[in-house]
Symmetry: C2
Subunit: 336 residues, 2 copies
């Protein structure tokens, strides 16, 4: 921390001002930095009075950084042709733009070597911050974290632990899927997942099974199947094939992503199984296209369009020298 402060005296933090003003840290940060448009006149006045009264001093490093010429923030994201990733990118791009930054986007393909390559290139471009969607553990990422680069992790947490994070409560999302199917009195239940699942995927599956256990099903009563690969479409298809190989389709199926649900749907379509009449599928993501062409899919809606604002707020807090924090956004099951 680079704050100059008298020995023995704790500095007044943005968080202290925010708590006393009854607003978010990001709001205080914006007002202190002269961005007063998004708050009401009353809020601006209340915060400014508290800043004076408490003796809050803005972090100089943050301000200096923000005034440097570069206004670029780099987003590293896997698999741009995954609709969920595209939705996050679009949302963050819009939020950065309205905060005066431009976003450049790099496709890591979920690979550590490419993530490192792009981190090196971006570092040479003097970007102001990093947004890493679904990070994987890699050397350059650990080095960047160790240097204290401003990084916000999205979707998956920092593989080294800690750090600023925007995402959802994935266990709760899986539990909500279980509750939904249970409430419809479906007891013949199954779940499919990728063999090499991310922490997010594992948490969703874990939440689903744990909730069903609480509701009275033994683990053996919940059928499970997995398949290898990185494409969730193909994983969904192959895992569903294994699930129903020599067995009937379950009456309820949880897929930890909509793309896996699309894969299972294709197998059902090809084999004459009617969705949702014969098998109710619950996915996660609530991709924008579901409302248009997948009316058979109930899905846990993740508010990707709100991710942008949260990510930018977290970045600005990091620039202001605040401690990184986690922001879990509310998800919601959309029944179709």
């Amino acid at each position: 921390m680079n704050k100059q402060r008298p020995f023995g005296q704790e500095p007044v933090s943005l968080a202290t001002v925010a708590a006393q003003a009854g607003v978010s840290v990001a709001t205080v940060s914006r007002i202190v930095n002269g961005e007063t448009r998004r708050a009401s006149a009353e809020t601006v006045e209340r915060v400014q009075k508290l800043v004076a009264a408490l003796g809050y001093r803005p972090n100089r490093v943050g301000r200096t950084l923000r005034r440097r010429e570069s206004c670029i923030v780099a987003m590293l994201s896997p698999n741009l042709d995954n609709p969920a990733m595209a939705a996050i990118a679009a949302s963050v791009e819009a939020a950065l733009r309205s905060a005066g930054y431009v976003m450049i986007l790099c496709d890591t393909h979920d690979r550590a070597d490419l993530q490192d390559e792009y981190l090196h290139v971006m570092r040479s471009q003097v970007v102001q911050g990093y947004i890493v969607v679904n990070p994987v553990r890699s050397e350059a990422l650990s080095a960047s974290i160790a240097r204290g680069d401003p990084i916000v992790f999205v979707g998956r947490r920092n593989p080294d632990g800690g750090g600023a994070f925007v995402g959802i409560d994935n266990r709760r999302a899986g539990a909500d899927a279980a509750d939904h199917l249970w409430a419809r009195e479906i007891r013949d239940l199954a779940v499919i997942h990728p063999t090499q699942g991310s922490s997010a995927t594992r948490d969703r599956v874990h939440g689903f099974i744990t909730r069903l256990r609480e509701l009275g099903l033994s683990d053996g009563e919940v059928r499970q199947a997995e398949a290898p690969g990185l494409s969730h479409l193909e994983v969904g298809y192959a895992a569903a094939q294994r699930l129903v190989d020599g067995h009937p389709w379950p009456q309820g199926l949880f897929c930890p992503s909509d793309l896996m649900a699309y894969g299972a749907y294709r197998l059902a379509f090809e084999t004459g199984v009617r969705i949702p009449e014969d098998c109710r599928i619950v996915g996660v993501d609530d991709n924008k296209l579901n409302a248009w062409i997948a009316p058979w899919l109930t899905s846990v809606h993740i508010p990707y369009t709100d991710f942008g604002t949260e990510v930018v707020d977290q970045l600005q807090a990091l620039w202001d020298g605040e401690q990184p924090s986690e922001q879990l956004l509310p998800h919601k099951l959309i029944v179709r």
Copy 2:
């Protein structure tokens, strides 16, 4: 052009070597620049002999550029959450990476002001080239073209005319959709389109109507409806609403993009019209997800996964000082 040449003597171009060697300009360019892995030993030898015999001299500007430190190419693309745009971005990113470049991606939202903003930022980053997907006319773009920056246009042509281009024959794509529906003996035909359509969209619609005229339908016999907006999903829904307002659904409907077809599908689903039984829809793009969750949609497949290689070949030709050219890739109607 920066080629040094004796007065009165035409320089030997890559194209001349390529024609005599019976290979592509890109292949000659790669071999001349020492990238011999992708060609056979015979081809490399034949090209090298011709280079010596004809006295071809590589363009120094291209070589110098290529040796500069930056290995960044900027892609400007509208609406990253359009699956077609995402498919182009993924393909170009992979091709650039295997050629030793990294791609950074900027979302222009189909807006001239944002296109200009990103062009300014990218210029300050000393990128080696630009790929502009679906360009719109803008000041900074015209300035960049006038400076001779290496730019490859994708999807839509250079709004100022000329330049390197990768895309498909959009009129032919529309005509193919007409032929497909005609061959199924469907004569009750309609087309929907955005009020502010791009040249690509207009060409597809024009090709559809022109072909039906050739087949014997008068223009009045082909029902048309349009709707304003930038989201093709919403345009498709609203235009289909206008089309069927007080009229029955047509037996065949051409939508100049798959997203518009999804919009029309949603209206059909909501109103109990069965697709494809009651109305056959033909789209354009053949989005990857169609095979998984839109088995009712016949679509003109655009080989987006091949776009990357073509775009990089064109960029390398521009770096070598070659004249820009147009590359139309073969499309194919996929019947589902």
